[in-house]
């Protein structure tokens, strides 16, 4: 196996810099945020976006914040958070009213009791949407299923046409990161930053 040294991109110019990755629109085989608004009428005002890490749940949640009715309240619970309910509670308005659209990113961090506390605290919200790794706690609005085709599409969109070809084998990358697209894109940042070499 050979490797090649790569050109170094400034962080600001890196095609996989976070501001560029976060600017990508959510897409999932023809399902867009606008269509989910209609689907929400079937699943009800308390629904879940389900999917594994790095599958686009956060991106979708952010887009729904601007397309769904109500005053958006984004509650973010990071992975490994030691006090997830305390973290969530401090981000919730008091009281939560029927005008609020509550979007909880990382709700899988909550334990069973904390989950009930969240439901209780948001019972008057117009809509509650939560991201979860597994279905079951709320009706599933959509299940995000990342695939290699999606990774290729995102990489194509992010890579400038005049950029040198530094992209490694995407199939191997996707497999190595267990289908976590965000993690794949972070590794590609390193490639373009010259912090990793491309195996040929």
């Amino acid at each position: 196996m050979n490797s090649v040294a790569v050109a170094r991109y400034r962080p600001a110019d890196n095609p996989f810099a976070s501001h560029r990755v976060e600017g990508l629109a959510y897409r999932s085989k023809g399902i867009h945020a606008a269509a989910l608004r209609l689907r929400l009428e079937e699943t009800g005002p308390r629904s879940a976006i389900v999917g594994p890490k790095g599958s686009g749940k956060t991106t979708l949640l952010g887009e729904l914040a601007s397309t769904l009715p109500g005053e958006p309240v984004l509650v973010r619970i990071e992975g490994g958070c030691r006090h997830p309910w305390r973290t969530a509670r401090t981000q919730l308005p008091r009281p939560v009213t029927p005008n609020h659209l509550v979007l909880v990113d990382g709700a899988e961090q909550l334990g069973p009791l904390e989950w009930r506390l969240l439901l209780r605290a948001t019972r008057h919200a117009r809509i509650l949407l939560a991201t979860l790794h597994r279905p079951g706690l709320l009706p599933t609005l959509i299940e995000c299923r990342p695939d290699l085709e999606l990774l290729r599409e995102l990489v194509d969109e992010l890579t400038p046409v005049d950029a040198p070809t530094l992209i490694p084998d995407l199939e191997e990358l996707f497999r190595r990161h267990g289908g976590n697209i965000r993690s794949c894109l972070r590794e590609l940042y390193d490639v373009y930053a010259g912090r990793a070499s491309v195996e040929l």
Partner: protein, 119 residues
């Protein structure tokens, strides 16, 4: 809406402690609450972005066409730099509020006319 922004000498490199002098002009086709000239730094790269507004000059209820001359003292730091994980860049911008429409002028702040390379 047309927003324009330039420094008096056309330069984009300023030393810490120096003065950034210039003019912000606007032609507005709708009512705005205010226009604001901001000097700020921001980071981009891998991970969370950060931003710090150093100075903001607000003009409330501006006329539909107008300008504002500005003179802003450059702070001692941080310098413009690029490492492996982030670039810290400076800019001055003219923002119409509340729409957020913006005109931006990228700057370099530091003792040398190029950003500090930390790699």
């Amino acid at each position: 809406m047309m927003l324009t922004l330039y420094t008096t000498d056309g330069g984009s490199w300023f030393k810490p402690g120096g003065l950034i002098e210039g003019r912000a002009s606007w032609h507005l086709d709708e009512d705005v609450d205010a226009v604001e000239v901001r000097l700020f730094w921001h980071t981009t790269g891998k991970g969370t972005q950060d931003v710090g507004i150093v100075r903001a000059l607000r003009t409330d209820s501006p006329d539909s066409s107008g300008h504002r001359d500005f003179s802003i003292r450059v702070p001692e730091g941080p310098y413009s730099f690029s490492g492996k994980l982030i670039t810290l860049a400076w800019a001055i911008e003219l923002v119409a509020l509340p729409s957020g429409e913006t005109e931006r002028l990228d700057l370099r702040i530091g003792p040398q006319p190029v950003e500090v390379d930390l790699t």
